[in-house]
Symmetry: C2
């Protein structure tokens, strides 16, 4: 696999329970280093259009032809606006890798989703993200789920996409931007 | 001068003549390479608060103590919301460097400002940015104005702040973000 891949990573902004929307920011990075552009949209809090929005953003991007992977920081954006990563992968023709800091507590998530409109479908999408893999990193582990790519290639893509810390550069930067837009300043921890 | 300085660069978003505001994005970069955070605010089109807003954003930033230079891409933000760079420098205690792609046509600017409320004061700020210096670059020249720093040190700061192209990295990135927020996608040319 060539080291000079182009990654796109999406993150959402902060929101209060009373907010209808929050921001959705995508960042395109060449290799693990050179930022080439941003995508920007809004996403509804606890809505159901996250998958469609991501598909549209990726497919309409001028960077589309050169992208090799889509990174997410979890399969929930804007609260419980959950992403169907298989649909996202199939509709964009790109592998999707979800990077997680810790093992999600599926029982807790299912309980929370039982109280939410369309909660069963939201939970189905979360489960459809599939098996959790891990990568040993300096201090502890990094977890990931993936679709449209082998686990070996996914691991390699994650490794070559990290510039600093434990997170692909596109996710680190889109987090900083989404935080700044919604809070005025980036939070220190990506 | 240490190569590992921290730069902050500000750029504004696009706007239509009918818009009251556009976005103001600041990007903090360590050296010419590592993005550490973003600042975000709105700025009024053709208003008069650009200097005050920049002073507030820089001084309230958690990055303040480690910043070594403020970069601007011109002294006009949000149309004719002109910046007094000497005031910005004195109120933040930081050198301010304005990077320009071409020599501004001062007569044309003065004529345009004659038709604008508070145009005389707006034009005074533009002139107060002072003398224009140039740096030879690969293909042509880069121009700059500066305050609170010697021309030699300003030149050196510009050179060590560029990662790619002809523009300090903080300005390149803040342009990409501000464009994406206001247009949905970054424009190719920074």
């Amino acid at each position: 696999m060539k080291p000079l891949i182009r990654q796109i990573g999406f993150d959402d902004g902060f929101f209060k329970k009373s907010d209808k929307n929050t921001v959705l920011v995508g960042c395109v990075v060449r290799g693990n280093d050179l930022i080439e552009g941003f995508l920007f949209d809004k996403i509804s809090v606890d809505g159901d259009e996250a998958t469609r929005k991501l598909v549209e953003l990726v497919n309409s991007s001028k960077f589309k032809d050169t992208l090799k992977v889509v990174f997410l920081k979890g399969v929930t954006l804007g609260g419980f606006n959950t992403v169907d990563i298989r649909e996202l992968s199939e509709e964009t023709g790109l592998p999707v890798i979800v990077v997680l800091r810790k093992v999600p507590d599926m029982e807790k998530i299912e309980r929370a989703l039982n109280k939410v409109p369309n909660g069963k479908e939201k939970f189905r999408r979360i489960r459809a993200a599939g098996r959790l893999y891990s990568i040993p990193r300096n201090r502890g582990k990094l977890y990931f789920q993936k679709t449209g790519i082998s686990k070996k290639d996914a691991r390699e893509l994650i490794e070559i996409s990290i510039k600093t810390g434990n997170i692909p550069e596109s996710l680190r930067i889109s987090h900083l931007v989404a935080s700044a837009i919604t809070l005025g300043q980036s939070r220190r921890r990506a």
